[in-house]
């Protein structure tokens, strides 16, 4: 038992660090993803990685994966987190991509995988529906066969960044008479330019527009766009959800955020001394630090299990719960650190960027919005309540 990286792993770290330093777009360094960025910024790094052949490390090598070990992938994510890199969006690379190479036919692989790898095709996810929430299988969107086409009608929601999407993958009910809600669902790829699709942005409590409602009205989709077998979509959907959960602990990013929090707390004052020297505040930061250490080792243990061939099972639910709790706590403490300057609503400040007096320190500007926005993490990707249900059933056997 030891925590050391092998010489090969250390060399790998140096290689990727150098590559990132040289190639990551300078104007994006450290900024992280925000919904109000120009869309080309969101895929800039993806496109660079596509050219390098590093955009889909976890894929099988025959489809363009890098063949890295789980430890190498961990190092890769750590190094990217260090510059707060905007990684390839998951909808193509981690969600539909693996479904296509696992269950799609050759034509589908040929048509779609290159665009996903290169970042030239933007994908979105059509899973959730209004009213469905954690009960995904209760979906109502229908796909009715009409000759060589499916005619699709329904409404999807929480379609992240669909405003920029070229393609989407959708779960639709193809057999309304199936015995169970999980049956009779099909997994269909849809060109987002098809007539009848309307994407309406949803304003969130932080003021941003990262998700959408997507309305489908008599959308005609060629039957070739069906993945796998008709009515077997739930199988592919579950496969996809298991993929989605890996990496959700977000340890590397949270470590970086703890350092940013410490930086802020060194600049903010309490009783004329750095807030970081206030015992109350220092204690909260140390608690977060300790919780994050525990999560990191837990993730490494899971990773070690993966390398030994034990796939990520229900333990990933623990990573999701603790990971999101830490992410939320981080933004809560950051908001607390900035004091009064968490109150202004910076998005709507008139004449922002003008020569007027600034409002508070720059690091305060996203503090409230981030705190509000991060409440989503314990809701999405299977709410933390659902994760507890999973652990209760799968691990504790209750």
């Amino acid at each position: 038992m030891n925590l050391d990286f092998s010489p090969e792993e250390t060399a790998f770290r140096e290689e990727v660090r150098a590559f990132i330093a040289e190639n990551y777009p300078k104007h994006l360094t450290g900024s992280g993803l925000r919904d109000d960025m120009p869309p080309e910024d969101l895929v800039a790094w993806h496109k660079i990685l596509g050219e390098k052949g590093w955009s889909v490390p976890a894929w099988p090598t025959e489809y363009g994966g890098t063949g890295w070990t789980p430890t190498q992938r961990y190092i890769w994510s750590e190094e990217n987190a260090a510059v707060n890199a905007i990684m390839p969006l998951p909808f193509g690379t981690s969600m539909v991509g693996p479904v296509i190479y696992s269950f799609g036919n050759d034509a589908q692989k040929e048509q779609h995988l290159p665009g996903i790898r290169s970042g030239n095709v933007w994908w979105c996810q059509g899973y959730s529906e209004p009213g469905a929430g954690s009960d995904l299988a209760s979906l109502q969107t229908t796909a009715v066969r009409d000759g060589d086409h499916y005619v699709i009608n329904g409404q999807k929601t929480w379609t992240t960044l669909a405003q920029h999407a070229d393609w989407g993958f959708f779960l639709c009910r193809t057999d309304p008479d199936a015995a169970k809600p999980q049956q009779g669902i099909s997994f269909i790829l849809i060109d987002m330019k098809t007539p009848g699709i309307e994407v309406r942005p949803i304003k969130l409590i932080d003021g941003g527009y990262e998700v959408n409602e997507t309305w489908l009205t008599d959308v005609r989709v060629p039957v070739e766009n069906l993945i796998g077998e008709e009515n077997m979509g739930w199988t592919y959907a579950k496969f996809l959800l298991a993929h989605e959960r890996s990496g959700i602990a977000g340890v590397a990013r949270s470590k970086r955020a703890v350092e940013q929090l410490r930086d802020i707390a060194r600049k903010e004052l309490l009783d004329d001394k750095p807030l970081m020297e206030d015992f109350d505040f220092a204690r909260k930061v140390s608690q977060l630090d300790i919780d994050l250490s525990a999560l990191e080792i837990t993730e490494l243990r899971t990773l070690a299990g993966e390398e030994a061939g034990r796939g990520p099972g229900p333990e990933s639910s623990v990573l999701k719960i603790k990971g999101t709790e830490i992410q939320q706590r981080l933004t809560e403490l950051t908001l607390e650190a900035v004091g009064h300057y968490g109150t202004p609503y910076y998005r709507d400040v008139p004449d922002a960027g003008s020569n007027e007096y600034p409002i508070g320190p720059e690091y305060a500007q996203h503090s409230a919005a981030s705190y509000f926005n991060m409440r989503k993490t314990s809701i999405y990707g299977g709410s933390n309540e659902i994760q507890r249900n999973i652990i209760s059933k799968m691990i504790l056997g209750l």
Partner: protein
């Protein structure tokens, strides 16, 4: 011991309940706060007409002879509706300064204008470096002939864009963090050298950062004694905290009611989510937090007239307990609403945001816990 409100207070509550119901549904509020001015002066006039702005002032000062309990009633109802109109800045804060520290002339000029709603005031106390320390005042007021000249920067002055006048804390002597040497002034916002940077706040109000650049004020702008302003500032701030605690309780109650109601309507796996025991117990904990908060809100208000130590201890205890409850209730309300709770469309998110910002006004949980500990040890 008596936990009942007077008939008059109950009448006030009823008329406010109506006013809020009629003017503060989610859609109307959204429109109002996203309008250019961000508030409704006509509603303020209506509130003034109902006599609500005069409640906490004595009759001889031009009010209706009530006190802090009346403000509690008003602010509970304001909290229920997420009312943004500036009762605390104008009536409780500015009004409080004149009531406790004003000369007869000041009372006549200012309290009258507050009560009839003809002027709106804001309270400019916080500074970028001072965090929640009321004695950390860098803004200076230098004697100049009969008057003073103000220089400095006040941070996040709530309600300032709507105000015609400001109550400002400034240093007339001593070093930046000295307890002595702080004075309080009333300043016409249109005076030369008052530079404001206005903005909306995340909880739907408006605020300004204000720069005083050689602002001349006359001698009669001084409220209370020169250099001895801190005890007055502490008293008024405690009154403001008690009022905001009541506001938070009103907001919490609605957030809980909305969450319980949502859990009854919203189905998952074929049953209303309110049938899941885990969510039931969490909503029970929200309710319990609220009941404890309400008790602390009463305690803070009822102790405002006691000795300085008793008052500060009760107010800090309330701010701590309600700050904790506000965070927890806000977070749980969003979580139980799920994805819908994240949308700007539903009202619950707005309650969450107001309950979040509550903590950082007039000192957060940690600040008041420290004050409470220091008082317990004294």
């Amino acid at each position: 011991m008596d936990f009942n409100f007077t008939d008059e207070q109950n009448m006030v509550r009823d008329s406010l309940t109506r006013l809020v119901r009629e003017n503060y549904d989610t859609e109307t509020r959204r429109e109002a706060i996203s309008s250019e001015s961000g508030w409704r002066p006509e509603l303020w006039a209506q509130i003034a007409e109902l006599g609500l702005l005069g409640m906490p002032f004595s009759e001889e000062d031009g009010g209706f002879g009530g006190g802090a309990i009346d403000s509690l009633v008003v602010m509970e109802e304001f909290g229920r509706g997420l009312v943004v109109e500036p009762y605390v800045p104008s009536v409780v804060c500015a009004g409080g300064f004149f009531k406790h520290g004003g000369t007869d002339a000041q009372k006549e000029e200012h309290i009258g204008a507050i009560v009839d709603g003809s002027r709106v005031y804001a309270f400019a106390y916080a500074e970028p470096r001072g965090r929640y320390d009321l004695a950390d005042v860098d803004t200076s007021a230098k004697k100049d002939g009969d008057g003073y000249v103000l220089n400095g920067h006040k941070a996040v002055v709530i309600g300032a864009p709507w105000a015609s006048h400001l109550v400002v804390t400034a240093r007339t002597s001593g070093d930046r963090r000295d307890k002595a040497g702080i004075s309080v002034f009333v300043v016409d916002k249109s005076a030369d050298g008052v530079v404001t940077r206005d903005y909306p706040t995340v909880d739907g109000r408006r605020a300004s950062d204000i720069y005083f650049e050689n602002v001349s004020v006359s001698a009669d702008s001084l409220i209370g004694e020169e250099g001895k302003g801190l005890p007055l500032i502490e008293l008024v701030t405690d009154e403001a905290i008690a009022a905001q605690c009541a506001e938070a309780c009103g907001a919490m109650k609605v957030a809980i009611d909305m969450t319980v109601e949502y859990s009854r309507q919203r189905k998952q796996f074929g049953v209303p989510i309110g049938k899941f025991q885990v969510l039931q117990h969490r909503m029970v904990d929200m309710y319990t937090e609220y009941e404890q908060s309400k008790s602390m809100s009463y305690l803070a208000t009822l102790k405002l007239g006691e000795s300085e130590k008793e008052r500060k201890s009760a107010v800090s205890a309330a701010k701590v307990r309600i700050g904790q409850a506000a965070h927890r209730i806000g977070q749980e309300a969003i979580q139980i609403h799920g994805g819908m709770g994240m949308t700007d469309e539903l009202a619950i998110g707005h309650y969450f945001k107001r309950l979040t910002i509550f903590d950082s006004e007039f000192g957060n949980v940690d600040h008041h816990m420290k004050r409470h500990i220091a008082l317990a040890a004294s």
